[in-house]
């Protein structure tokens, strides 16, 4: 319990530091926002008025607190680039609202694919003593790890979309209209995110299991009459899963990053595309919020993995 409290405090501290860093980083950016919103022909009076509206005349510390309290209350500020209509600026919350689930769903489906495929694959690999299989899987996984996710996305589009016609490239279905169709389309981008990670995780599990096979408790289990099957699943797999869980936690950040890139390949309207276009348009309020969101997700997942780890292996909970 004491540990949990300590962890939560660290979590909050980290988020605070990230928010300060994000805020500061975007303060030092050259270029005048107001001029870029209004264009060259704006009158000085109009510029001054907008500056006042956006709160750009306040001192930095005050602006940080205004921004932060806004964020905490759900007011994420307004986009500099998109507008709702002629007179109203687009709130960032509205811009992000229905895009966030797409990215999170993509990352989630990828994670499920990784777990569901890599664990049986790794176990099967470790179990088989065949040298041929060993060599084939070794080369295959090594190659899969070298393929960048966006190229994998293109390969998946070509193979499943154009040659096998299992899905229509670019035919995204919104999750609001047809959730099954949405998931069906999402499967392919998720596969592109997942394949390199599946290769990594399977390799990792296999090595971890082979190491465990050499340990004393395996010999003991055999000598007390356990079947090979029982030794494999009850003893070795359980112990080999420990490092795998940590490993999965470590690659969560990469899965999120991979999802953001792969969105671009499959034309998914997630936050990745918004982030890229906001960076290109220098739409800073949107970039700031997206960074904060992504960091929050990543840090929160690390936090969960940490807790989970302690639940699986009670030995470390005392530290």
């Amino acid at each position: 319990m004491k540990y949990l409290v300590k962890k939560v405090i660290t979590l909050i501290m980290t988020l605070f530091l990230v928010s300060v860093a994000a805020f500061l980083a975007f303060q030092i950016i050259p270029g005048d926002v107001v001029a870029s919103i209004l264009g060259m022909e704006a009158t000085p009076e109009r510029e001054e008025q907008l500056r006042e509206e956006l709160g750009l005349n306040d001192p930095p510390v005050e602006r940080y607190f205004n921004w932060m309290t806004g964020v905490l209350r759900g007011d994420l500020g307004v986009s500099y680039r998109y507008s709702k209509n002629m007179n109203e600026m687009m709130p960032v919350a509205e811009l992000i609202g229905d895009k966030l689930p797409v990215t999170l769903m993509l990352a989630f489906v990828s994670l499920i694919l990784i777990i569901v495929i890599s664990i049986p694959l790794g176990v099967w690999w470790a179990k088989s003593g065949s040298h041929v299989l060993d060599a084939v899987l070794g080369v295959a996984t090594q190659t899969a790890m070298a393929v960048p996710s966006f190229f994998l996305g293109i390969l998946v589009t070509y193979l499943f979309g154009i040659v096998l016609k299992l899905f229509t490239p670019g035919g995204y279905v919104s999750y609001r209209e047809d959730f099954a169709g949405f998931l069906g389309y999402l499967l392919f981008p998720a596969l592109s995110v997942a394949i390199p990670k599946i290769a990594m995780t399977a390799r990792f599990l296999r090595n971890s299991m082979l190491t465990e096979f050499g340990s004393d408790y395996v010999r003991t289990a055999y000598s007390k009459g356990c079947s090979r099957r029982r030794v494999m699943y009850r003893h070795v797999l359980k112990n080999s899963m420990m490092p795998v869980v940590t490993f999965l936690g470590m690659i969560i950040a990469e899965i999120v990053a991979g999802s953001i890139v792969v969105e671009q390949v499959f034309g998914l309207p997630g936050i990745g595309r918004l982030l890229i276009s906001s960076i290109n348009n220098r739409d800073l309020p949107v970039v700031e919020i997206l960074i904060l969101y992504i960091t929050f997700v990543v840090i929160f997942v690390y936090f969960l993995v940490d807790i989970l780890y302690r639940v699986i292996d009670p030995r470390i909970s005392e530290v």
């Binding site: 980290t14 994000a22 790890m145 960048p148 966006f150 293109i154 950040a253 890229i276 290109n280 690390y302």
Partner: protein, 276 residues
């Protein structure tokens, strides 16, 4: 942990990983460098008659939507990728050695602070962090190099620091200290040569990640800008013609895979030589 503080004499042993990695990266680097001086065809000359011609003896990777030779363009993109990743690895590696040496050897509060920052940066997706820095600095080749170098420093710091921590209390270092050797000399003349066997592995991993990040960013349109050729940009251009000319996408894509695979085999080879 279990390792002894022995000074490693180079009993260099070849293994198949090292050989395969060396051959693969060697071919790619040679082609990339050659691409700066000579390409089989001009990379900009358009030829309407030869639009979308599939790979043949004349154009071994085929031609693109403007009838340009893809192989020549891949050579140039390869060159850009290799130069950018080399600069990134050089800058971040050097900074990593400097910071890692100081924090590992001196330790204390400095070490604690630097390690917390390193952990935070390492936990964050590197391509995102690069994007953030780019969005602050703006687009362009120099800014790509600067932002990637900053993002890659922590991974080097970590390796260098742990090696310095391991060697700090080695007998030969305490003796050097007793003899009154200056700190700078201990850091960079006595310890530094002994961390290289481990350091090279992380250099290879660095190359790997740098190539992936660079091509990823240019695929997203945020990295290297035209007229500089880049493999990522080629891929995103090719995506629109996937049905008509799949080789247009395959050529730059497989080139990236080749390069990354080469560097990772190379790194694995070095790691195995260190262990044996």
């Amino acid at each position: 942990m279990g390792r002894k503080y022995s000074v490693k004499i180079h009993n260099f042993k070849w293994n198949k990983y090292l050989a395969a990695g060396l051959v693969m990266t060697g071919i790619a680097v040679l082609l990339g460098i050659l691409g700066f001086f000579w390409t089989p065809y001009s990379t900009t000359a358009m030829n309407a008659a030869e639009k979308f011609s599939p790979p043949s003896l004349r154009h071994i990777f085929g031609t693109d939507n403007f009838g340009r030779d893809i192989f020549s363009r891949v050579m140039q993109g390869l060159g850009t990728s290799i130069v950018i990743s080399s600069l990134v690895v050089l800058c971040s590696g050097a900074a990593g050695i400097l910071i890692g040496a100081l924090t590992g050897y001196i330790g204390g509060v400095l070490d604690e602070v630097v390690m917390r920052i390193t952990d935070a940066v390492n936990g964050f997706p590197s391509i995102l962090l690069t994007l953030v820095i780019i969005s602050i600095l703006g687009n362009g080749k120099q800014n790509v190099i600067i932002s990637m170098s900053i993002v890659f420093i922590p991974s080097f710091v970590r390796i260098v620091r742990s090696e310095y921590l391991r060697l700090r209390d080695a007998d030969y270092i305490s003796r050097a200290r007793l003899m009154g050797v200056s700190r700078i000399r201990i850091l960079f003349v006595h310890i530094l040569p002994n961390i290289f066997s481990v350091f090279w592995v992380s250099v290879m991993i660095g190359f790997n990640n740098a190539i992936l990040a660079e091509s990823g960013m240019s695929y997203l349109g945020i990295g290297v800008q035209p007229p500089d050729a880049s493999l990522g940009k080629m891929l995103s251009d090719a995506q629109g013609y996937l049905q008509r000319a799949p080789w247009y996408a395959l050529a730059p894509g497989l080139t990236i895979v080749w390069l990354v695979l080469g560097f990772s085999l190379f790194g694995e080879g070095i790691r195995r030589t260190n262990e044996s």
